[in-house]
């Protein structure tokens, strides 16, 4: 079993936390994993990307040219990276911010989810990354909800643990919108 995902948005959307969380959850499940953040001259509002590769066996390259799944949180990322998804792959798109226009690829599955609206309905726009993680985990089965919850406890500093229930609700909401049930 091998899952690779490319997550992209702008700095401040929580792209790196999302990747970190998936990595942690995969480790909790006893899998091998590599979380590779894009490393450039980054800033809030600028581009933010990361790649997560999860495998039962060897992870291999932390760098992926044509990911099997892309999670895309803003327009710039969509314009730049939607075309790179591997044929047969999945592209999960934050339709609140992305205008897909006449983009069409019959060889990938496009899953538009209004992530900003969902996060705002749950109380905070900053949970947009959790909605995305939930949708990804449910769609692919890469990690379970339980390990994501465990990962939140491990990756968030103690003072932020009071926000975990809200984040779990955001993960569940994203999962529901992905069209696949999230395994407990």
């Amino acid at each position: 079993m091998r899952h690779d995902v490319f997550i992209s948005g702008f700095g401040g959307q929580g792209v790196l936390l999302a990747g970190n969380l998936l990595g942690y959850a995969a480790m909790e499940e006893g899998k091998n994993v590599s979380f590779f953040p894009s490393y450039g001259v980054e800033k809030r509002g600028g581009a933010a990307m990361c790649t997560v590769v999860i495998a039962d066996g060897e992870v291999g390259s932390p760098v992926v040219g044509n990911p099997s799944v892309s999670v895309i949180l803003n327009q710039t990322s969509f314009d730049k990276y939607a075309s790179r998804v591997k044929p047969g792959g999945v592209c999960i798109v934050n339709s609140s911010l992305v205008e897909m226009g006449d983009f069409s690829r019959s060889d990938i599955e496009l899953i538009p989810i209004p992530m900003n609206e969902i996060a705002m309905q749950l109380g905070d726009l900053r949970m947009v990354n959790m909605v995305a993680v939930g949708a990804y985990a449910a769609k692919t089965g890469a990690v379970s909800l339980q390990s994501l919850e465990e990962a939140l406890r491990e990756t968030l500093p103690e003072r932020n643990h009071r926000f975990i229930p809200a984040n779990v609700r955001a993960i569940e909401a994203g999962a529901q919108r992905s069209g696949s049930p999230l395994s407990k």
């Binding site: 990595g23 994993v33 590599s34 450039g40 992870v59 390259s61 760098v63 040219g65």
Partner: protein, 352 residues
Amino acid sequence: MTKRLFMKGNEALAMAAIEAGCRYYFGYPITPQSDIPEYMSRELPKLGGEFIQAESEVASINMLLGASATGVRAMTSSSSPGISLKQEGISYMAGAELPGVIVNICRSGPGLGGIDASQADYFQAVKGGGHGGYHIIVLAPASVQEMYDLTMLAFDLADIYRMPAMILGDSVVGQMKEPVVPNKRPERNLPPKDWVVRGKGDGEQRVVKSLYLGDGELEAHNWKLHARYGELKAKEARWEEFMLDDAELVVTAFGSAARIAKSAVMAARDKGLKVGLLRPITLYPFPEKGFRAATDRCKKVLDIELNTGQMVEDVRLSIARDAEVFFYGRPPGAGSLPTPEELLEQITKHYV
């Protein structure tokens, strides 16, 4: 199994240094290795150690030299431009036979260049970056676990062979996070440090120096160092072999490039191509025997690097006479990191 930790390569390296008994760190911040001094500045004071952010890279390498002369385990880290500044001190350490660990989390150059992953410091690392015809031990981790394990090895090898040891990484192995088993410091028979500097006091005075002016003294000293490099080559060369047995094309790469290459090799195998990977773990000593043995069987080698061709020269010197070497590399810079798909194309091209 010990609980695994999800850590950045740079953090794992710093953690391993402490486990290896390093209590003294001297450095100056530079991207992409600043997680190392950050970690050391937080942890060393708790252990009674000393963290010094020096006024410059030149100061920090000379602090490492001084600390090492007193017999303690000590480390400095930097990135390419900073490592250039340290070369004088490294040469002095090599001349004075001082152990000590130097970390280079490379960035792209020349000059200030950029902060992206690069392997363009290979020549500088393995050929003796400073003056005087010396070598240092150079280890090239390809995973976060190896950032941990090879750092502990670097301290041991440096003590055993009385020479500086370098960890050569880049922002891929430094910044990515992977699960790490925080292994205990291995038990090893280390030679006593009976050369540690000391004043006359009530016994023997011991001087640590690299200056030898007596007739024949320096030549003898250099022959001694030369013999040690030979011993290092004979005993300490390390490499990984992956699916080499029936390979008709040997791919070779080190560090982060080897990770990308390995995925390409696995993809080639999925397509039915008999391709293997030979990954040097020690860049100095270079795994000559590994290349010789592999090319006694397989006559085609594809060397892949994040530069325009450096290790490939050592590959050419190590292979069987009738083997052919191809090279693929890209100079470092934003957006130049090759993908496994790109490397698979190169493999397919040279396989036929």
